[in-house]
Assembly symmetry: C2
Homo-oligomer: 764 residues x 2
Amino acid sequence: MKLPLLVPLLLAATAAFAQKAAPAENLVQYARPIIGTQKMGHTYPGATVPFGMVQLSPDTDTLLYAKDGKYNPDIYRYCAGYQYDDPTIVGFSHTHFSGTGHSDLGDFLLMPTTGPLQLNPGTAQKPESGFRSRFSHQNEVAEPAYYKVRLDDHNIGVELTATNRVGMHQYTFPQSDQAHVILDLMAGIYNYEDKNTWTYVRVVNDSLITGYRQTNGWARTRTLYFAMAFSKPFKSYGFRNFSKKQVYRGFWGKFDQTHNFPEMAGEQLRAYFDFNTREGEKIKVKLALSPVSQDGAVANMQAELPGWNFEQTRAQSQALWQQELSKVTIQSPKKDDKINFYTALYHTFLGPTTYQDADGQYRGLDQNNHRAEGFTNYTTFSLWDTYRALHPLFNLVQPRRNADMIQSMLAHYGQSPEHMLPVWSHHANENWCMIGYHSVSVIADAVLKGNAPFDANKALDACVATARHDSYDGLGYYRSLGYVPEDKNSSSVSKTLEYAYDDWCIAQMAQKLNRPDIYQEFSKRAENYKNVYDARIGFMRPKLSDGTFRREFDVLSTNNQGYIEGNSWNYSLYVPQDPKALILLMGGPKRFTEHLDSLFTMHLPDKFFAETEDITRDGIIGNYVHGNEPAHHAAYLYNWTDQPWKTQQRVRMILPKMYRPTPDGLGGNDDCGQMSAWYVFSALGFYPVAPGSPEYALGSPAVHGAVMTLENGKTFRITVKNQSDKNVYVKEARLNGQKLTRPFLQHQDIVQGGELVFVMSGKP
Amino acid sequence: MKLPLLVPLLLAATAAFAQKAAPAENLVQYARPIIGTQKMGHTYPGATVPFGMVQLSPDTDTLLYAKDGKYNPDIYRYCAGYQYDDPTIVGFSHTHFSGTGHSDLGDFLLMPTTGPLQLNPGTAQKPESGFRSRFSHQNEVAEPAYYKVRLDDHNIGVELTATNRVGMHQYTFPQSDQAHVILDLMAGIYNYEDKNTWTYVRVVNDSLITGYRQTNGWARTRTLYFAMAFSKPFKSYGFRNFSKKQVYRGFWGKFDQTHNFPEMAGEQLRAYFDFNTREGEKIKVKLALSPVSQDGAVANMQAELPGWNFEQTRAQSQALWQQELSKVTIQSPKKDDKINFYTALYHTFLGPTTYQDADGQYRGLDQNNHRAEGFTNYTTFSLWDTYRALHPLFNLVQPRRNADMIQSMLAHYGQSPEHMLPVWSHHANENWCMIGYHSVSVIADAVLKGNAPFDANKALDACVATARHDSYDGLGYYRSLGYVPEDKNSSSVSKTLEYAYDDWCIAQMAQKLNRPDIYQEFSKRAENYKNVYDARIGFMRPKLSDGTFRREFDVLSTNNQGYIEGNSWNYSLYVPQDPKALILLMGGPKRFTEHLDSLFTMHLPDKFFAETEDITRDGIIGNYVHGNEPAHHAAYLYNWTDQPWKTQQRVRMILPKMYRPTPDGLGGNDDCGQMSAWYVFSALGFYPVAPGSPEYALGSPAVHGAVMTLENGKTFRITVKNQSDKNVYVKEARLNGQKLTRPFLQHQDIVQGGELVFVMSGKP
């Protein structure tokens, strides 16, 4: 990786586009999209704007390219399409998830090539066998909203940038009478030969193409529309249909429908567009997306990016990043700290992503088109991950967007034939991934923190309806027995614990909205975690429908032990809504502290590493799994014991271990920003242990100072005295001059503006 | 077949809904949808309103039910889904073509059943092996807008009716706690196992379902949406996915998604809805269609058929038929003549069909949604057939609709990336079936006859652009050589002859619109028929690109002789634009008359019958093929010789032979009404030999009198004196008292109203 080069236009553009005067320091330079692209981070290096619909990024391989289209065991590495260690690039597609542990998307892959037309991607081992190309990180630049690489096999320079709904490509060709741009509609992430249900392409004129791709993947019934414009007319075009499926060919004798015929359709299409190019000639391509229609995509391009000025587009989009990153500025003598911090902040602002046309229309969960009235519709809700720290972070620095995200979730509820809030939804589909109904946490957190510019009582009703859906994932048993019985429904302990937390969120909301019946019902449900605690062994443990605990049980294993993506050591700590009660349940502060200490220090036998999903070995400290979410609050639980200094010490240990300024710098999937949100909070010195509560637990700041600029115009300043790598302990914390007597901070303390001073020390 | 029973409500409803006072006589009783359902007529017996979007009709078998999903050689019989000789009914689907020679549609098949749930249709040989049922014509009633049958295997009475966009089912069940209604989304006409690209079903509540079906068939990229309402809530429901294709199942563990789960999607679905029924209990189902969206289908149902009164709906829809059929009333002492005539008129008013929602929105050829402004959008343009007599008939009795059909064709042109008018289009797709560009004939005929409430010059431009599309079907050769060379493009003679006629149409339009350059260019092209006439043998003959006629040539064969769906004997007469010149070309009146006489009287060796497509042996008289279109004008060509009496004699011979009041009464495919339009014109005593000319050639009326009630308020009366089966010769014809000196009639003579008197005689 070269260091990113900043375009001269940037600062000017920043000044021009930032809402307030831009800070002297350019923050975009510190955000490094390449971080997390190696190993398990599952981030993508490509170009996007904050919360943008387009994520235009290189794909180095996807399942489609596995021989014979069989399931590719390696596919998991390609959740974001790009793996840093790969030697070749297959092309540049327009939609990517950031940090997920399952995947989809990868729509509309474009690849510029030279030489004889090749319509097969070829293999990484033999790139010359197809249109893919070798590339080198020496020739690669990845910045927010800008990506650059050289395709060695085609001698083509590629630059990418994006607006919200439009991806812009700038290809610098050599002299050639065999220059091509391939539009691969077969390509996709987590692709199967038969994942496409249909694709359609229409050549409107010699430089405008529209169409769509329909897939049956993680999103079961997904359609995405596009409009693609070339800066230069193509000289000829055509396609090949690779589908084995018999396609009715109409009366093809009337035309050669594979060459220069303006309508293409089929299950597995690759189209191509031919050019003659001069040495160094730049051909630009704009590809606009729409969830609604081809017309919508054309209109989005017209509204957002009518022109062809690549540098200006890049500058404007990077200015948007400068504007967002400026919401939390930090001080640190170490550049790496700034790289870690602003890259984390960058990752938290990637999604949920915009999911509506410029005119407000979007495709609903019911597969009808709707218009978002009074809010911006967002999609990609990885809620099991993001309710923990990402949405709470948004309630501080993106409150308007967070409220719109909640309105989007409520629209989903209105369109859901199950009458449920989203569990894991993207692109007008519910994929039901993971467990719980954590939408209620996101909604409760906003309501409790006073960020609810929507009908909070209607929202509460949606939460209650969701939490009473007996046919959902063991919920009927949970409601009748007080726990999910392992013999009836797997991962029963994880579900019981998370349902109980979600129920507490509903209770908090009901209390604030003065709905006593709901408050009582759900306060009671919130205590169900007690029903799966086995006092004899001091761990949460799977219980059977007959009321007895399951005999065979391994507290270290995550396989079939009543848990999902975490073992009992980690998950037994999952009562964020009431750590005090948990501590009592687990035998009081002393025993509880011992459990926590052991978690961080014990030796986890090798065989269990293989089981831990989504993370590299670096993602584990002792038996504490930071690379996955269930224990993200664990380090902060010492605050409820008499040893809060251990929270400070653990946090400062975790931060540098789990977040490094390198491509392999993330210890696990970034999970749509949750891992990064943990970093942002923890580096600032506090963390939302229980979203739905206005209280933050204090940790130990890693920054030397910070300023949060809030949408209400207030600023919250964090001043850190005697900061150093050794001085990880907080000797004293003062809020607006007042010494804090408890290691906690209230949401109001922050949003009304003020100053928090940490005085650090090398001794507990 | 029982005689149709007329509901008491009908006459009242007629009076209530007919625009003018209804005639005393009920005409609906004479229209028999069952005619043409046996053998090659390819008509359907089900319920529809004039030009309605819904054609709700029983399907007795379709390709899907062929074992192993291989191509079923027998499929051709099932273009309309129903064959009279079949012993079983598979179900009732909502879209059907009338009389086509290739097919598609058959969407949303519903089947009510009792007993154990069966989700396979089973076979005709073993109906009990599936959900299909035996039925008997004794228990079958087929009327315009009403169909009734008893399903013997399920002991269920079925009645069907329809409004424009909504099909209504009334099922009379026995007592049963195992009553079901199956919604078969796999079913379709001309279906392949893999014809579906995707299907989607959403259970909105306990009695409303919405969804869509996408297919890749004759229409390459077709989506049709539906909304289905039950008059009684179902007690349970579910589906099975028969697709071999791997479908991503999301996290199915969360629910049993096959049973009582409100979202279903996949390639090959059959859904079912369960009921308990009392003896004789009626359950009604309404299924609304939309080409635009599920919401559109719901809105269409609300707009057209909000209630549940089956009898009233039937009465209102039959009143619409009474209203349309009343536009041409005839006198005849023979009921069979009335059955033949009004059934023919019924068949001409089935299509083109409405293709827009109640709010005017429709899916365009470009797969975007559009709104029809100032016209009703129609689809299903079988133009190679219907330009001949159907659209000319519409210019007389459906001028408003015909103008809207042309506006629909112009909208298609505007959305066509090839910038061409429709060739054979349906459901937002061009299927390119058959040859020529006969849209121009339909447009020219309307313009020349003064029925052009649209921008005629823009329409002319569309015609010219279409006729200059060099890459289309040999047109480039035709333009450079003056004919299509057989060695470059097959069926070259048929194409040359039909292009020449179409070009003449364009010339006529250009002349009327005072566009002299276009007039000259296309008048010259209109003479290209001469380039394929071989004077040495007196037949049109395939010519090669070197200018020589192809040596091997058989004037009786239709296989690979330079023709399509006709042999040289028939096709050599195809110069409708200038019979005079054709007669000279073919050696003068004497030789020409001999050719015509031989055509009707010669013996066609058996081997050639096998070749003649689309028709039964009854469809051929001598070597004259009436069961297909190319020679439909032939009998009238005697009018340009000195023996017009032979036209009169041939026509009176053809009428009773080719049109009979029985299920097998049609001698060939009705071809979307063209065969029937020939009957209507000929029975009235005249025929449009060359659409694009305002002139009709006189024949010999089969009626004893007729009245045409025109939209301009005028009436045109046809009085026939001395009419009898023997008196087939016209001794004298008087128009408004004036004796006609030539056997021709002008369009203006009819539309300005008046009376035509035929005086018949037994002698030429």
